[in-house]
């Protein structure tokens, strides 16, 4: 099997696919890409199934070297991409030769950039997923997030598939999905928040201009990606993909599924608006987004890599 060598993982790089479903009742967190839309765009550009695993980098980017001829695509938070020393575009298939290195520069905005590979990252799946969950010991290299020198197995590139992207639809998709707002169901008590510094894949800290007075603690119940908890210190925590499966802080609102990718791109210091919508609007927004994605890039056959 081919490999990709981690030269510099930056702040935090990990292998992620769409996540680990069906095991939450055992305490197993879903994990998966923080911005699943960016992951799916990258996979579709390469003719991969949506669920193929990729490398998620965080804010500072990272450097990687491919040890076989392959094709990659870089998606997510915008950054300068270099293949060896040449500048390369995002959101395009990039043909690499064995030994080429790819550097993702610091994200100009947003938080997470994806390095997708033709054939997908092929680490050993755990409970049906390749997603890393460091504290559970699920991930690439034995347990956890990527380090210098790690060799990450990747699929073999199929002969240059040419994907017909509808660039106009793709641009429209970026427009609707990159917005400093989160649509929510419920009442978050505050319409504007600043993203706090202690934000990560477990949760995004949303600091309201005036602290919220949270409802009483609750008997532990199911938590999930997008649930917004009110904590005793008056801030809101929007749970990320690595958030716990259960919790006892009251959930006051939930980020709609269509905006979870935006949640995954929030970086500390950003001001974000919270906008209440109805369940029907949430579903309609998601449906429209999925149609736009299908128009921009065809869905690949679903035989998992």
């Amino acid at each position: 099997m081919s490999a990709l060598t981690v030269i510099d993982p930056g702040m935090l790089s990990s292998v992620q696919d769409l996540g680990r479903f069906g095991h939450a009742w055992l305490g197993v967190t879903r994990s998966g890409a923080a911005d699943t839309l960016a992951l799916r765009i990258g996979n579709r550009l390469l003719g991969n199934p949506d669920n193929a695993a990729a490398i998620e980098t965080t804010i500072s980017g990272g450097t990687f070297r491919v040890e076989a001829d392959t094709t990659i695509a870089i998606t997510g938070a915008p950054c300068d991409v270099r293949i060896n020393e040449r500048t390369a575009p995002m959101h395009r298939p990039l043909v690499l030769r064995s030994g080429d290195s790819v550097t993702l520069g610091p994200a100009r905005s947003g938080a997470r950039t994806y390095l997708c590979v033709a054939g997908g990252v092929r680490t050993e799946p755990v409970m049906g997923s390749r997603s890393t969950h460091a504290t559970s010991g699920f991930g690439a290299r034995d347990t956890s997030t990527l380090r210098d020198g790690d060799a990450v197995p990747i699929g073999t590139s199929s002969s240059a598939t040419s994907i017909n992207a509808d660039r106009d639809a793709l641009v429209e998709l970026f427009r609707v999905s990159s917005s400093p707002r989160l649509r929510i169901i419920g009442d978050a008590f505050s319409t504007e928040c600043v993203v706090g510094r202690q934000s990560d894949r477990v949760g995004v800290r949303l600091e309201p201009s005036t602290p919220v007075s949270p409802p009483e603690a609750i008997d532990s119940e199911a938590m999930h990606h997008g649930a917004i908890q009110a904590t005793p210190d008056g801030v809101l925590i929007a749970l990320g993909p690595d958030g716990p499966t259960t919790g006892g802080y009251p959930v006051v609102a939930t980020v709609i599924q269509a905006d979870l990718p935006s949640l995954g791109q929030l970086r500390p210091g950003t001001t974000v608006s919270l906008i209440s919508v109805s369940i029907e609007e949430a579903i309609e927004t998601l449906r429209a987004r999925e149609e736009l994605l299908d128009r921009a890039l065809p869905r690949a056959d679903d035989d998992a890599p």
Partner: protein, 230 residues
């Protein structure tokens, strides 16, 4: 003689779509054996509700169904969930097991035992705990049944790493840390069993509703069991 069929709960649940993808059934007063019932409901609903249902998760007095909003028929999910939880159930047939956990209480494995009154170990060995729910980490089971005099606040500074198998008390619950993780509960012993292994057919040793007893083992047995475990 078969056990009589029991009503499902003391009160019917309040049913709420807390988002476009999450249906929560919440009981005001849960039945005393809510965990066992919830586990049986999960198993039944998992079979009857696919496709569009991604996860079903019991809470202390709730059951939450996580769906794919574009694939799930919300009316059907809600109707089916209510049908299952409101059906009479045969408590004797519910899935629950009685599990004995070998625990070594040597000082180095029990750094926080000093915070507990004398006789705590003997007391613990007499208690039949019950798994309330799994959460926090894979296979981490919150155990009900700790007597009030052993309730002990969490540590002010959580440890960055707790060894797998550590028996711990946090507030009013006992638990075993299944894997190495940060942890703020009081460590009072360690089991030699592997609590969670994703490659096993049953990854989690404990399930909601199971009963648990601790059995004291000496250091030789503990060490040998650890060596022999896969």
């Amino acid at each position: 003689m078969p056990a009589p069929l029991q009503p499902p709960s003391l009160t019917p649940p309040v049913v709420t779509w807390t988002s476009e993808r999450t249906l929560r059934l919440l009981w005001g007063v849960p039945a005393s054996d809510h965990a066992r019932r919830a586990r049986a409901w999960c198993e039944e609903l998992r079979a009857s509700l696919a496709p569009g249902v991604l996860d079903i998760v019991p809470g202390i007095r709730s059951l939450t169904i996580l769906t794919d909003p574009l694939a799930a028929d919300r009316a059907h999910v809600q109707q089916e969930a209510l049908r299952v939880v409101c059906a009479p159930c045969d408590l004797g047939a519910l899935p629950a097991r009685a599990i004995e956990l070998p625990v070594c209480f040597d000082d180095d494995l029990a750094p926080d035992l000093v915070r507990f009154p004398p006789g705590t170990i003997d007391r613990l060995l007499t208690i039949e705990f019950r798994v309330a729910l799994l959460g926090f980490a894979p296979g981490f089971a919150y155990l009900d049944g700790l007597p009030p005099e052993l309730h002990t606040p969490r540590l002010e500074r959580p440890r960055p790493r707790v060894a797998p198998g550590s028996l711990a008390i946090g507030g009013g619950h006992a638990a075993i840390y299944p894997g190495a993780s940060p942890g703020g509960w009081n460590l009072i012993g360690r089991t030699s069993l592997t609590m969670f292994d994703p490659t096993r057919e049953r990854p989690a040793l404990l399930g909601a509703g199971d009963t648990v007893r601790f059995v004291r083992i000496d250091r030789d047995n503990f060490d040998r069991a650890l060596r022999e475990s896969p």
